[in-house]
Symmetry: C2
Subunit: 378 residues, 2 copies
């Protein structure tokens, strides 16, 4: 039996040296992770583990960002399953990333940290499971960058993954995504405090650049109509953004909202990790080295559920339709109908609950869904 | 008869002092403009002038950016009409803007240049027409920021404008637009060479910030599928964007494309003007001070044609539908069907040609369209 930390506690696991897909070596890698629910091994090395994959700025605390979906009696039922969620390789919430001390000199990795791919993130998680002695998982689930990892799990380690539930992602980065993500990286690199990525010992950090990146990103995470319904052209109370001169103290409500989102991120997230993980999203391509996109997808025989959001700007719904048309073993395709846009994979709990209950009912004959009703909107 | 410059020649006209909507004074304003086609005055002060309005980074050289649409025998027929196009107030192509010398000290206006609105831009153009002795124009036409000006013309000066053809714009800035435009302004202001807007005498300019702004903007100007069809995840020939380390010399094709677009803009456009005009777009609101959006639109009795692009990310088609539902005197509504996105109002010449010919055939009984066929896609 693996030695797992108490429910919800952050634990660090040394997974050894890591070699990236492109050939760089990261020695002595740590991945931070959490678990909820008792671990059970069934026959033939099967387990009750559900691996949950976080998005770009998420972390291992899956019960916070999928609060309505993970827990006793919830869709991802911790009375039944052992949920494990690891902070991604390159992250800044306990896993080895550009802000971590380099084993050679104890200084931050900074610009020495290699570029990584979604596949690298998954391969590192596989090393974590190996360390924990977990040779098979019931399911892997995630959205956005977490969905990209879940998808790569099914291609890289089909014998390790029982099934996958994949939300709001694509088979590969689109050129538009690469472009908008590149613009975000540029905003960070243009910040004088970036210092070529080696700002960790300078006493400053590229917070303005990270804030600009977040403002851009946030507008791709939310629905255009939702943002407009909430803020329109309203001014912040007591401020006049239509005065005779431009004045940062006088803002439209949406500016203040974006400033708030940006500030929240700069207070909790590292700019170096943001660049490393955004770059990994740019490299996302399920077809690379596998004969192309559709050949790669059709050869995946792990059962996969695909879900998308009708108003998603960043990963438009046609990308999930493309996945569903080409995956080798499609369990089903669900549309999340929401004004929220991409972030609906985090916020539309009721629809996510139904989709995930339907997913587990299909892959686990002993799953007793509290709500047996399954609605797929194709 | 007004004294007008030779066809296509850039001419500067002193329009006097200008007071902005918000109460700032800009003394001794110049607007640069061009004209094509003989000026004719008909009875009752009517003229054959067609006023063409350029977009954010456009200028008075309308025959370059609407090359297929303006000229002898073309939709905006310079054998019949006198086309006038002015560089906008705040611009950097001959009109008074933040890079122009301040009359007090000859130094660039910089941060002293006030914030302006779309209405200010139109009011300044009205002063130009007054200077030229033109009291009425047959039509005003433009797209994007030019469409916003054309729309404001119909609300501010209904007795001066015979009709308007308005492309790819909205009744007001949406919160999403304000947000994405604010992110662009932030990118410029975060550039250390911005110097609070007073960089003109420093020997440096916030080119990196302007480049980042343009990368963001360009992705809102083009269709997501078009960008992906052109570039996908291709690398630039001879470069490997999937190497072991991030390296700006190894790029995806779309990065190189955005870099090229950014560089082109930084070579021809002033960052201060970019901020001033982007701020004007943020202030665009046809309903302000007029009892709200729909009341303002319904009270406009100038005949207006509205056209939008089905794949427009920046000004989604539902915004043109909103205009068409609420305008007081709608000539018609046309959909430009194109993968190109917002920029289709510049690039889809064949569709624009038909739309504009249909427009002139409706408003001008003597207009002889080479192609009498009018197709409206409602």
């Amino acid at each position: 039996m693996p030695s797992l930390p108490p429910f919800g506690a952050l634990s660090a696991c040394a997974i050894g040296d890591f070699r990236t897909e492109a050939g760089a070596i990261i020695p002595e890698v740590t991945l931070a992770y959490r678990r909820w629910g008792e671990f059970r091994r069934t026959s033939h090395g099967r387990t009750n583990v559900v691996l949950v994959e976080h998005a770009l700025t998420g972390d291992s605390d899956a019960r916070s960002w999928w609060a309505g979906l993970i827990g006793p009696g919830k869709a991802i039922d911790t009375d039944r399953y052992c949920v494990i969620c690891a902070n991604v390789l390159g992250g800044c919430q306990g896993s080895t990333g550009p802000g971590s001390p380099h084993p050679d000199d104890g200084q931050a990795w900074g610009s020495r940290f290699p570029a990584i791919s979604i596949r690298d993130q998954v391969a590192a998680e596989k090393q974590l499971l190996d360390q924990l002695g977990i040779t098979w998982v019931r399911a892997v689930a995630g959205g956005s960058m977490g969905g990209a990892r879940a998808l790569e799990w099914t291609a890289l380690f089909p014998d390790v993954v029982g099934a996958a539930a994949i939300f709001a992602v694509s088979a590969r980065a689109s050129a538009w995504q690469i472009g908008i993500q590149y613009a975000q990286i540029s905003a960070i690199e243009n910040d004088p405090h970036w210092a070529g990525g080696d700002y960790y010992a300078t006493g400053a950090a590229p917070l303005n650049g990270l804030a600009t990146a977040r403002r851009i990103a946030h507008l791709t995470y939310r629905g255009e109509l939702e943002i407009d319904e909430r803020f329109g052209t309203s001014a912040l109370p007591g401020e006049n953004p239509r005065g005779p001169f431009r004045d940062p103290a006088h803002r439209f409500a949406v500016q203040s909202y974006l400033d708030y989102q940006a500030k929240k991120l700069t207070e909790r997230f590292d700019a170096g990790t943001y660049v490393v993980l955004t770059e990994a999203l740019n490299r996302h391509d399920i077809g690379r080295g596998r004969g192309g996109l559709n050949k790669a997808l059709s050869s995946i025989d792990v059962p996969v559920l695909i879900a998308g959001v009708d108003t998603d700007i960043l990963y438009p719904y046609h990308q999930q339709e493309h996945l569903s048309r080409n995956l080798g073993n499609l369990l089903g395709m669900a549309k999340i109908v929401s004004p929220v846009g991409h972030d609906a994979f985090l916020t539309e709990t009721r629809q996510l609950d139904r989709i995930l209950r339907g997913f587990f009912a299909q892959i686990d004959p002993h799953y007793t869904a509290a709500s047996p009703r399954i609605e797929y909107f194709i």
